[in-house]
Amino acid sequence: MATRAPDRLAVPPNRPVRSRRLRRHLVHQLDVKGSPYAYVAPFFLLFSAFGLFPLAYTAWVSLHEWTLLSDEQTFVGLDNFRTLLADDYFWNATFNTLSIGVLSTAPQLLLAIWLAHLLNRPLRAQTFFRITLLLPNVTSVVAVVVIFSQLFGRDFGMINWMLSWFGVGGVAWNEGVATSHAAISVMIMWRWTGYNTLIFLAAMQAVPRELYEAATLDGASGFTQLRKITIPMIRPTTVFVVITSTIGAMQILAEPLLFGSYSISGGPDRQYQTLSLFIYENFTKLDFGYASAISWMMFAFIVLVAGVNYLLTRRAKGGLT
């Protein structure tokens, strides 16, 4: 309004008025164009300091033979990456990460959708059930792993004790590849299923009730409704959950580390050494150049796997027609 006011003045604008108008106009322009950037700036400044800079610095370190206590670091170019691609242990860690990731994520998401579907009906004490679902997630990961490691113990573990009722002899859970991956996946599932259930539940509550009412009138069963209405309607949430779970699964560290009682090689045969553990091992050996190279490879893997999963989940569940 104020900017328009001078237009209506019959007096021919003299110089000072014009310059004042110009200045006001500039300030206004600056406000419109500049302020939004100022508002989002704090995040980007923090992100640059704590996200972008470490990322770039890690890339720089990965091109060096970098040990901590000596003062000079030799530039070696892509040598670390070359060594890495020829390193059996690296591929072993990659395989373990993918294996534990698939074993924990796939059943977990199916279970979460199913649980959310059950909770999406009118229930007594709804809040109680929802809070209960979130409890495993707020439990400290250390506590979870310590308890589960006891359960999966070879000599005095509860799971082996229960298996003995069926005549199955003491399974050494952390010795084998398959058994240790299964045990670690169970810990991850226990912690994250409830969390994902709540996200699915939130999405499901946004699905219009009329669709279900119509389907019920048409005689569709609960399962059919889940398959034909709920799942297509919550597709964007599914994509989100799949991507966040994938990223989480690629970065698993605490569970295998603690499951192996602080064995940084992920068991004597590296049977459950994940990529994060492999990075950790090389960091504790103070081989920083190599550890940084692995970090960057892991970053590339995460982008790749998350991208593939995104395409798959988008394609697999067509829209509601």
Binding site: L68, Y262, S263, D269
Partner: protein, 437 residues
């Protein structure tokens, strides 16, 4: 008038307050600067409060000693920081590199001392604070561990040494028809071969629910550390693969597995702790400080007893106290470690924390030599552990001895779990050692 006063007085007060606080800062900084060159400035300011941080990796039972230090240094406040063993030394390296965050006094375990002795520039030279006068009191090999590789600097003062013994369960030995008294058991195994032979007899007696020993890892470590040369030679080069002593220790450990003596438990894991309490194995390698670990599992008084270790003496573990250059009060810090390691303190810590003194003069002191531990069937632990420490042949500990040991221990575990035979595991262990830079 009022206005005038407001106009001029307020800024003047503000400026003078600022100037005063700046002066205070300057005084503080001056004290710090003086501290690094010998702390004459610190001494001239008796009212100045000094804070010393002490970084440890477990409870060293130092609290009463701090109180004693404060009696002579009323202006010093001591704050203790404890971190997890594995993280402790990595943290210290990071702090030294980034130049911030290190404590005034840091504990460095025997296996890690070698990681720091190549870089004396990062630590104060304790000779500058007159601590080299303590040399005559110390076990020579323990003293030498704390000297920098080039010999120019005294970097750390030893606290305890881990004299070796073998802990065993008298009840299980009795069940197996073996002698169960301390002297009788010690006589069973003058050598590691004899130890394995005893193990075979134990297995043949079929004691229900119990193996002869926990796992071969700690035995391997003990055997390597008994040799004159271990993983590193005198030039700090890794010689693990070429050293026949290491191979001998490895073969003996494989024999422990092959003869079915092992309960397949890696030391310091939760199932191993359960094993100590429930008695699923009858013997374990036992440096002095491990008696505390056993007690923590509450197996019951007299359940475990202590005999001599096969192969004579030996040492496992033990700690040094060092002063990183980042500390601002080296004089006080040096006085503190002098107190923490003196005779009275070491005797106190021996009784409190089973930390075996590194001052041989104390080994004949009745307070140590005649000390018996009621928890271990009145075992004369003073005599057992001191004779082990005295019999030790000093060995060069390299900067990454811990990583080398881990590679071999993983190999032994692969053999134990039936994943590889002894030769394959040995080859892979050497490959892993080769990756250590």
């Amino acid at each position: 008038m009022r206005k005038l006063r407001q106009r001029f007085l307020t800024p003047m007060v503000a400026v003078s307050a600022l100037a005063m606080s700046l002066a205070a800062c300057g005084g503080d900084g001056g004290g710090d600067g003086g501290g690094t060159t010998g702390s004459s400035a610190a001494a001239s300011q008796p009212g100045e409060k000094i804070k010393l941080t002490v970084a440890l990796f477990s409870d060293f039972h130092y609290a009463p000693l701090y109180e004693e230090f404060k009696k002579t240094h009323p202006n010093v406040e001591i704050v203790e920081r404890r971190s997890q063993f594995n993280d402790h030394h990595t943290n210290l390296i990071t702090q030294l590199t980034t130049g911030a965050g290190a404590a005034d006094v840091v504990a460095v375990e025997g296996g890690y001392v070698g990681a720091f002795t190549p870089v004396p520039g990062k630590f104060y030279n304790l000779k500058d604070y007159g601590l080299d006068k303590r040399q005559s009191e110390y076990l020579d090999w323990k003293w030498q561990l704390g000297v920098s590789n080039d010999g120019s600097s005294l970097m750390g003062l030893g606290t305890d040494v881990g004299g070796l013994a073998m802990c065993y369960r008298p009840d299980l030995f009795k069940k197996a028809g073996l002698p169960s008294d301390r002297e009788g058991v010690s006589a069973l195994w003058p050598t590691w071969d004899a130890y394995v032979e005893t193990g075979k007899k134990f297995v043949a007696a079929k004691v229900a629910g119990a193996k002869f020993t926990d796992g071969p890892g700690e035995h391997f470590r003990a055997m390597v550390e008994q040799a004159p040369v271990g993983f590193y030679d005198d030039q700090y080069k890794i010689v693990a693969g070429a050293n026949p002593e290491v191979r001998k220790a490895y073969d003996m450990s494989v024999k422990i597995i092959d003869e079915g003596l092992s309960a397949k438990l890696a030391a310091f894991t939760p199932p191993w702790n359960t094993g100590i309490a429930k008695g699923t194995f009858a013997t374990m390698v036992c440096p002095a400080w491990k008696t505390g670990t056993i007690k923590d599992q509450k197996p019951g008084e007299g359940t475990w007893d202590i005999a001599a270790v096969p192969g004579g003496g030996g040492n496992q573990g033990g700690t040094h106290l060092m002063l990183p250059k980042q500390g601002k009060h080296p004089k006080e810090a040096a006085e503190l470690i002098d107190l923490l390691t003196n005779k009275e303190s070491q005797i106190m810590l021996f009784k409190e924390a089973s930390a075996l003194p590194s001052l041989p003069v104390l080994y004949d002191d009745p307070a140590v030599a005649d000390y018996v531990n009621p928890y271990f069937g009145n075992a004369p632990i003073g005599k057992i552990f001191t004779s082990a420490a005295k019999a030790l042949k000093p060995q060069r500990v390299g900067p990454k001895a811990g990583d080398v040991l881990l590679a071999f221990n993983n190999g032994l575990q692969r053999v134990e779990q039936g994943k590889q035979n002894a030769e394959e595991a040995w080859a892979q262990a050497l490959k892993d050692v080769g990756r250590i830079k």
